[in-house]
């Protein structure tokens, strides 16, 4: 893990400064079915390709933000704060 990540607050930094928070998931609320709820709790897409995921700038400004990263090449095409996430993005929730 020696790629760089653009923190929306601090700019381009070594990935070692960040903590990974996993792919975004849709939180199943209190009215969800057993299936939906189990999927939310225990199943992940684990894609080989582009993924929207959570990162924490642990050794920096400590902000949680979202990154669109290619899981095979580690290329990151976009990072943004949760408040700035595109409208069509499903509600994400930490795993």
């Amino acid at each position: 893990m020696t790629f760089l990540i653009h923190c929306p607050n601090c700019g381009l930094r070594e990935a070692l400064e960040f903590s990974y928070g996993g792919e975004t998931t849709t939180r199943a609320g209190d009215t969800s079915s057993e299936r939906e709820f189990t999927d939310y709790l225990y199943y992940r897409e684990n894609v080989n390709g582009w993924q929207t995921e959570w990162w924490l700038h642990r050794d920096g400004c400590r902000v949680w933000f979202l990154a669109e990263r290619h899981t095979f090449t580690n290329e990151i095409r976009a990072t943004y704060l949760s408040a700035d996430r595109p409208a069509d993005d499903a509600e994400g929730a930490p795993a």
Binding site: D30, W54, L56, R62, W64
Partner: protein, 938 residues
């Protein structure tokens, strides 16, 4: 006898500065500037170690740190490459893999039974009979491996350094130095990595004073940073270069990478080609020119190029008798030495040192015997492309060079010098300059004169030279012919492995371990490839090299591990505690008092008078903003919307599985502001947890970890109200500050937030104040309490006190499956409020009911069950103890334990087991002290 020759220009040693060290206990004299290798060569020590498998004697071979022959144990550290390791006064050097000595190694007999150890023998011959393995294995284990792992716990701490230069140059030979000078002159930030102690690369094999001086000075004058003794050992994603020296591990992320790693001389294969006295020309030239050591008197040089003749002239000039076996049919005549054109070395002979060779036409059965004490393999160099390959470059076979050269380079990676196939210093320098200019141009720093110079440089950089001739794949005659010196693999063994079906380099590598030893293929890749080609009926060109992987050069594990740094946190009152004689213990990263006078006396003080404990380690959060209420309502199953200002709620935090994540106090400070405390050891994780959800829900909240900003103490005991009254003007009566009240007031003149809560089950005040006033607040409270019998108390007393109240410790009494119903906190869950973390799971759990329960228990007897002791019923394991302490209040042992839900009935008896110890316990559902909580609320 010394092999040292008279002083000469350009030698690196200071003959006026003697240095002494020991080799296997025997004193060796050396000079400042010597390496261990040059010093033992000067002392005529022929055998530098014993080989890995057959325990054959081995001697100095490369003098460049590229082979396994001189690995030694230096001051306890194993596998140090002696040929490049500088001597230090008093160092203790031991030769490895030999007992009682390298000269008379008792395991030399292994060489005679080598037929028993074919490649993969350990897969085969110890399979049957099975019962023999336990006997055989310890023997193999004791014979395997190199050197002795030091028993000492640690040595010098290593730093980790990250560099972000514009250009990193790997290798400070002619090409690398030229590239560095050019890029630095253009204004770029340049770092040069050189594994040798001295820059120069192959230039150091040349005669004269400071042969690399001009290039080095030009690079340094231009501002390039030279890191010598620093080996690049891997190229990782990024690309990031990993490099190491004795003091640090470097991570280097550069915008351009110039690989100038040069070439590595390859051995020739013939019987007994591993005898001490058989050397590469690099070793001979470095020993003579840099260290003034002549490694032999009668030399035979094998070559197929003018490189060998240069070595021959050097040897003659140094006083040796020389004959050259030149593979070329039209070899040039010797200048002071004999030349046999069209010949090769068919075999070597000798027992502990080479005493002669047989020279003849390639492939001949017999030839002319020549007596000698030095055999030099000169000019069979292979480009050192491994780091290039790791960076993503492709290599392809070049017919003229008879070598694999880089053909396709990743963007921003340059290959210059011998690694790219140059054969002259001039071409290498020109290539280096071009790479430096190219990097500068692509980084927008092109110097004005660049365009004018490029054509001339391109002409100089063109690679020219005669077609390369390699020695025959094998020699002839009796004796082992080694392809791999690290792992003792011979031509016959490779051939046998191929007939067994391991017919490619990658398979041979895994089966015979060629290219896997300490040299990582440096001194065996080409011979192995060619023998593989020969055995499979293909060509060198068709035989792929094995994949290059880090570490390309050996790295000490201590370097990778880095410095051992243990985070250590102390509260602002810490010095007062140690001054009061507190026994200090680790609590996570914190240093906290375990006890002061003694836990029993401290417990008694809290129960009967008053006690004071430093709880500054509590995690503290300020949660403020229009969304603060909503955030807490979603994070906790408790209700906060109607919580009055100035009131404390005990809250338990769950995850969506309904599992308890943490517990603590939540104080409403203002309409839109809360003060939240969490378990000390959980603070970092809780901060991540809460800010994560806050980010996901996009709530307008400022959530700040103020753990370090606030110190805190808990003043507890029946006398605590009187003590409080002495340190504040505020009203601390039960009416003004009742149980679960929270008030801002000055305490000891310091602004503080005071909470009426009591983890220990007494009337108590948790006082939070700016941490800088820690000593003042503590001292003022202790003075005010002195008339009331105050005692400071530590963690142990607190544990006893809370256990008497059956207050749980999240993480101690709960685990990753504990839900609030199981631990008796179901009353806290407001299932009818809007969605919160864990709501969905709790609905399910409420349906099924808990399977296990955390219950209090009492136990008799003197034995205190440890954490994890088993709860046993009629011989069956049914549960476990999470906490237990002796309680004076209860008059017995009290604790908490997990038991089947059906057992959560007052008085249920069970056995407690741990190892050989056992006792009886019974369930006690009520707190052992003040079950109604009257004291707490008083």
């Amino acid at each position: 006898m010394s092999a040292r020759i008279p002083p000469r220009d350009g030698e690196s040693i200071r003959r006026d500065r003697p240095i002494r060290f020991t080799l296997d206990g025997k004193r060796i004299s050396a000079f400042e500037g010597d390496t261990i290798g040059s010093a033992v060569a000067a002392a005529d020590v022929g055998i530098t170690g014993r080989s890995f498998k057959y325990h054959r004697p081995r001697g100095l071979f490369c003098m460049t740190g590229s082979c396994p022959n001189c690995l030694m144990q230096v001051d306890g550290i194993p596998n140090i490459r002696a040929c490049t390791e500088p001597v230090r006064d008093g160092m203790k050097v031991e030769r490895q893999n030999a007992w009682p000595s390298a000269n008379r190694d008792i395991h030399g007999w292994l060489n005679q039974v080598s037929f028993m150890m074919p490649p993969g023998f350990y897969y085969k011959i110890f399979q049957h009979p099975k019962w023999a393995w336990p006997t055989v294995e310890p023997f193999i284990r004791s014979k395997a491996g190199l050197g002795k792992v030091p028993r000492a716990e640690d040595h010098e701490p290593r730093e980790r350094i990250t560099l972000h230069p514009d250009v990193v140059v790997i290798g400070a030979g002619a090409a690398g130095l030229a590239a560095a000078a050019e890029a630095a002159t253009a204004g770029l930030d340049v770092v040069v990595l050189e594994q040798a102690e001295e820059p120069g690369g192959a230039l150091l094999r040349e005669a004269g004073t400071d042969p690399a001086g001009d290039l080095r000075d030009a690079a340094e004058a231009a501002g390039a940073r030279l890191l010598t003794g620093t080996a690049a050992f891997g190229v990782f994603e990024g690309p990031v270069i990993a490099a190491a020296n004795a003091a640090a591990l470097y991570r280097i992320r550069a915008r351009h990478i110039v690989v100038a790693t040069g070439g590595i001389e390859q051995p020739a294969v013939f019987p007994n080609n591993d005898l001490p006295g058989v050397m590469l020309s690099s070793a001979v030239e470095i020993l003579i020119h840099r260290f003034g050591v002549l490694p032999g008197q009668q030399a035979v040089v094998l070559t197929a190029s003018d490189a060998g003749h240069r070595t021959a002239r050097t040897l003659v000039e140094a006083g040796a008798t020389v004959s050259v076996a030149d593979l070329r049919a039209d070899a040039p005549a010797g200048e002071g030495y004999r030349v046999a054109s069209g010949t090769t070395i068919l075999s070597a002979s000798g027992r502990r040192h080479v005493t002669g060779v047989t020279v003849g036409a390639p492939g001949a059965e017999a030839g002319t015997d020549v007596a000698c004490d030095l055999v030099v393999l000169a000019g069979f160099s292979a480009p050192s492309t491994n780091l290039l390959s790791m960076s993503g470059a492709d290599v392809a076979f070049d017919e003229r060079a008879q070598a694999f050269l880089p053909v396709q380079l990743p963007e921003n990676v340059h290959a210059v010098g011998a690694v790219a196939g140059t054969t002259t210093t001039e071409a290498a320098v020109a290539q280096g300059r071009l790479a430096g200019l190219d990097a500068a141009a692509r980084l927008g720093a092109s110097p004005k004169d660049a365009v004018a110079r490029i054509d001339a440089l391109r002409a100089e950089a063109a690679i020219a030279g005669d077609p390369v001739i390699l020695p025959p794949e094998v020699g002839s005659g009796a004796g082992k012919q080694f392809a791999c010196l690290c792992m003792d693999v011979t031509d016959k063994e490779l051939k046998k492995a191929v007939t067994e079906g391991f017919s490619s380099m990658e398979l041979l590598k895994r089966y015979t371990t060629i290219t896997m030893g300490p040299c990582q293929g440096k001194a065996c890749m080409v011979p192995s490839q060619r023998l593989c080609a020969r055995a499979t009926g293909s060509t060198f060109a068709e035989t792929k090299r094995t994949t290059s992987r880090p570490p390309w050069t050996p790295v000490e594990l201590g370097t990778l591990a880095g410095a051992r740094r243990t985070p250590r946190k102390e509260t602002t009152m810490h010095d007062l505690h140690t001054g009061a004689g507190a026994e200090i213990m680790w609590a996570g990263d914190w240093r906290r008092p375990h006890h002061f006078a003694g836990p029993e006396a401290e417990v008694e003080a809290v129960r009967t008078k008053v006690g004071l404990i430093d709880v500054s380690t509590l995690g503290k959060f300020r949660v403020q903003g229009p969304g603060a209420v909503e955030l807490l309502e979603r994070l906790y199953p408790n209700r906060f919307a109607e919580q009055p200002i100035g009131r404390v709620r005990y809250g338990v935090m769950l995850n969506d599985e309904g599992v308890i994540v943490d517990d603590g106090a939540v104080v409403r400070v203002a309409d839109d502001e809360f003060f939240v405390t969490v378990t000390s050891g959980n603070t970092g994780a809780l901060e991540r947890w809460m800010t994560w959800w806050q980010a996901d829900w996009n709530l307008d909240v400022r959530l700040l970890n103020v753990t370090g900003a606030f110190g805190a103490v808990n003043l507890a005991g029946p006398g605590s109200r009187e003590v409080m009254a002495e340190v504040t003007d505020a009203d601390v009566s039960a009416d003004a500050l009742p149980y679960l009240g929270a008030v801002h007031m000055d305490v000891a003149g310091v602004p503080a937030l005071v909470l009426r809560i009591g983890f220990v089950g007494e009337l108590g005040y948790e006082i939070h104040f700016p941490s800088m006033y820690g000593e003042h607040v503590w001292q003022t409270l202790m003075e005010a309490g002195s008339d009331h019998g105050i005692r400071p108390f530590g963690l142990e007393a607190q544990r006893i006190l809370r256990l008497e109240k059956q207050h749980i410790l999240v993480g101690q009494d709960t685990d990753a499956e504990s839900d609030p119903f199981e631990v008796g906190l179901g009353w806290m869950v407001k299932a009818d409020k809007d969605d919160f973390l864990g709501k969905r799971s709790l609905a399910d759990l409420a349906q099924t009911g808990p399977k296990e329960r955390l219950v209090g228990f009492t136990a008799s007897g003197a034995w205190l069950p440890p954490e994890g002791a088993s709860i046993v019923h009629e011989g069956t394991w049914v549960g476990r103890v999470t906490s237990a302490r002796r309680s004076a209040a209860a008059g017995c042992i009290v604790g908490l334990a997990w038991v089947p839900a059906g057992w959560a009935v007052e008085g249920t008896a069970f056995d407690i087991w741990f190892g050989e110890s056992t006792t009886q316990g019974s369930v006690a559902l009520q707190p052992f002290y003040d079950p109604e909580g009257a004291k707490l609320r008083s």
